[in-house]
Structures are given as structure tokens and as C-alpha cells.
């Protein structure tokens, strides 16, 4: 019998919603698993075609310029602000312990090990991943990828392989530059209240920084770069449903790319811990 509220309206069907939850959850899980499977197959296709005699060098160089050089200003500004803010905000805490001389080393280690790689990769996922998703998505829905294929060009090799290689190689370069800019900003941050020469600051930073701080962080950047490229291309290359699909491709390239970066970071910290590098 239909339930009625005192004002005569039908109450919201909470029971029906709750009853449907298992099937909704099932669809969500199967959708997620399908996505993971398809992305893995797409990555497998990349590895099969990644090295080929007819490598598209010109397009690869163009992508390196777009994803590296043109992303540097954004990454640079963010790194500068990050280094400065981190220094200014950490000062009161280290002051409490009378350890202000530790400030440069502390901030530098945080920047090199974690903050610069992750922030740069997240910016990459936002700027590069979304633009790849949107560009390839719009090429897909306007039949440009089909046009490439019928002209006898392998669109996967031309569009996907070059883009994924470029992000894999450019993100680590951007992270190294980001490290340098953030450390320079730390020196400025330290000098807001103290008077520390660059030579002294440099010595304080590099006496505490070890190769084992830098190497694992640098290696994980290649994985971050690969994740940004492969997710952006996958979302764009498999776009459907016209212009709406292009928007979805750009959006999901950012969301999936960022999520993958955090998951990879989590795995990386466990691996470095197991290897005794932490």
C-alpha cells in the first residue's frame, strides 16, 4: 500500500533507494574494474609500439616543447610560492625549539623528497593531462583520428606514443627545476627575518641533503609523467558522445591522473622504506 504523509504527499522512496544500493555498488565496481582493465590494455598497446623504427621525432619534439617548456612558467611560479610559504610557515615551529638554523635543511628535504615531485605532477595532471584529454577527444569526435588512419598513418604512434614519451621524460626535468626554484625561494624566505648569505644557506642545504633523498624522488617522477601521459591520452583517444564526451575526457584525465599520482606516491614511499632509503 502506498504510504502517505500527513500533508497528502508521497514520502521519498528511501527504502527503494537503499534496496537499489547493492546493484548500484555492483555497477560502480564493475565500471571501475572495466576502466582499470581498459587502461592497462591501452598501456600495453603503448609498450608494444613505444619503440619503432618509424618513430615520430618531429611530433615528439613538439610535445616536449608544449609539455616541458610551456609548462615551466606555471611550475616555476608554484615552486617559488611553495618554497617561500613553507619556509615562512615552518619558522614559528622550529623557533620554539631554537632550531632556526635547521630551517633551510628541513624545507629543502621536504621539497626534494615529496613536495616538488607531487605538486609538479599534480600541476602536470591539471595542465597537460586535461589538454591531452580535450585535444585527442575533440580529434576523435571530429573524425581527425579516422582521417589520419585512412591516410595510412598510425594515429596511435603519432598521437599517443609521442605524448606519453614526452610527459615521461619532461616531468622529471620539470621537478628538478622546481626543486631548484623552491630552494631558492626558501633562501628568500629565510632572509625575511634572518640575514643568511647564499653561500652559508647553500652549505646548510647540501650538507643535509643526501643522494638517497634525491634519487627515489627523481625515479618516481618518471612514473608520474607516464601516468599523466597515458591517462590523458587514454581518456581522449577513447572519447565518445560528441562534445559532451570531450568535456568528460578532460575532466576524467585530471581526476584519474591525480588519483594515480597519489597511489603511486603511496607505493613509492613503501618501496623506499623497504629498501631502507627513508
Amino acid at each position: 500500500m502506498e504510504r502517505r504523509m500527513t500533508n497528502g504527499t508521497t514520502p521519498p522512496d528511501h527504502d527503494g533507494y537503499i534496496a537499489a544500493m547493492p546493484s548500484r555498488s555492483f555497477l560502480l565496481v564493475t565500471g571501475l574494474l572495466r576502466d582499470v582493465g581498459e587502461l592497462t590494455a591501452f598501456a600495453g598497446r603503448f609498450f608494444r609500439q613505444a619503440v619503432h623504427a618509424r618513430f615520430e621525432w618531429r611530433e615528439f619534439m613538439r610535445q616536449c616543447f608544449i609539455n616541458g617548456t610551456l609548462t615551466l612558467p606555471l611550475v616555476g611560479i608554484t615552486a617559488f610560492i611553495m618554497g617561500l610559504v613553507l619556509t615562512v610557515q615552518s619558522r614559528p615551529t622550529v623557533e620554539r625549539f631554537g632550531a632556526t638554523s635547521m630551517l633551510p635543511a628541513m624545507v629543502a628535504i621536504s621539497v626534494v623528497r615529496e613536495i616538488a615531485p607531487v605538486i609538479t605532477a599534480i600541476i602536470g595532471a591539471g595542465k597537460i593531462g586535461s589538454s591531452m584529454g580535450a585535444e585527442l577527444g575533440s580529434m576523435k569526435v571530429t573524425e581527425q583520428i579516422d582521417a589520419m588512419e585512412v591516410s595510412g598513418t598510425n594515429p596511435f604512434r603519432y598521437l599517443v606514443v609521442t605524448r606519453v614519451w614526452s610527459t615521461t621524460l619532461m616531468i622529471p626535468v620539470l621537478v628538478v627545476l622546481s626543486d631548484a626554484i623552491a630552494i631558492w625561494a626558501t633562501w628568500i624566505g629565510v632572509n625575511i627575518k634572518d640575514d643568511v648569505s647564499w653561500d652559508l644557506f647553500y652549505r646548510q642545504v647540501f650538507e643535509s641533503l643526501e643522494f638517497s633523498d634525491f634519487l627515489p624522488a627523481f625515479i618516481k617522477c618518471y612514473f608520474f609523467g607516464f601516468a599523466i601521459g597515458i591517462v590523458g591520452c587514454y581518456r581522449g583517444y577513447t572519447t565518445e558522445k560528441g562534445t559532451e564526451g570531450v568535456g568528460q575526457a578532460a575532466h576524467s584525465a585530471v581526476v584519474t591522473g591525480s588519483l594515480l599520482i597519489f597511489i603511486m606516491d603511496l607505493v613509492a614511499v613503501q618501496v623506499t622504506d623497504l629498501l631502507g632509503l627513508n
Binding site: M139, D146, E149, G152, T153
Partner: protein, 252 residues
Amino acid sequence: MEARSPALDGPVVQVRGLRKAFGSNLVLNGFDLDLRRGENLMVLGKSGSGKSVLIKCIVRLLQPDAGSIAVLGQDVLALDQEALDRLRVRIGFLFQSSALYDSMTVQENLEFPLRRHWIARDPKEKETLVEEVLSAVGLPQTRKLYPSELSGGMKRRIGLARTLILKPEIVLYDEPTTGLDPVTGKEIVELILKLQTAYNTSSIIISHDLNVAKLAANRIIVLHEGRNHVEGGYDDLRASTDPVVRSFFIFM
């Protein structure tokens, strides 16, 4: 304008029993087609009748569920990727949306297929080919423009130029006049006929535009419910009493 008479020869495209379904939607259900050398064959059908699917199957952009496709004597469905790419160079495809690469200028669009196939390695030779096709489509002044700066008719012409730069033997036209005003549409059809003579191509034109049928087609196949419904010249169809054929002439 009179449609050109075909030079009768063996079929350059032969399709037999083509079937293609998307889920439960059966789009092509045993379609047959023969394109003779030098002929303009038109496939007439309503929107959504499977015309685009047909020509996408011919160049294997789509994989049919059943049937056979032979192009220039080669079994398209049995070719490996490299052989298919070599065959595709001999088949031009004009997309409905023109499908110009919008991050490239007109010149780069035209040079793109040349660079890929190592045709015209010498820059001067490349330049000559670009100039030749741009003059052929009547747009020699557009080489530095981007597709977004072109009108719909100009895009269609540049699309045609990009198709012809590889000197294909067969050209597949996907709705060449859709979205254009009647005057520009007529100009495109006239251009197609002029270029067909100049480049000696055989064509499959898919459209629902009867003006294209009247001006360009040597032979017309009506595609209905995934099969060959009727076949004949424009005048045969015009005189037909078949209700499906009559429905195309409703505004004529």
C-alpha cells in the same frame, strides 16, 4: 551538367554480403556493391541507414561482422596493418566534417600525408604538389590559414585537396554536400566531377542529396534496411513507383 560516362572495366571495389551490427541494431544486412573503374557510384539512403558504416568498412575503419570486401584486387579484411596502410594510400576519403587537423595550417594539413609516406622528400617537390592541389580546388591563397579561419565550403575543398594529394585511384565521399548551402553544394559537386576527370579516379559517393545524384552519379544504389533495395540511374529512380524510392523525391 552531364554526369561522366564510366569507362567500363573490372570492379575496383567489390563488396559481398556485408553485415554489420552495433549491439542489437543491425545496420548492414547483406549489402553488395561493385564499383567499376572510372565510375561515380552513389549510395542513396536515409540518415542512419548505414551509408557511412559501409564506406568505413571499405577502408576498415570499422570491422564488419560478415561478408567480403575487395579493393583493387586485395582482400581488405585479410590484410596486415602495413599492407592495409599501403592500400589506404590508394584510396582517398573525404569526411563529412572534412576532418582537417585543426592544430595545423592548410599547408601542413596537405603536407601531412606526404611526409608520412616519404612521397616528395624534396621540399620543392612538396611545394609543387601543394600548389597543384590548392590550385585544383581553387584556393591557392589559403596555405597559411588554419581550418578555423575557413568557411564550411572552403574546408570541404581543402579536405578534397588533402585527399587528392596522394593521387588516389578511388575516392570515397561521405556526404560531400551536407551542411552546405545549395550554391556551394553545387560548386563542390562540380569540383568533384572536374577533379575526377583530372585525376582519373573512381568514386563512391554516399549521400541523401538528390542534387548530387542528378549531377554526379552514373549509377545509384538505394540502401534500405541494410540491403540493396533498388539500383539504377537517376532517371530510373525518378520514374520509379517504389514507395521507398518515392520518399526521396518528396520535395522534388
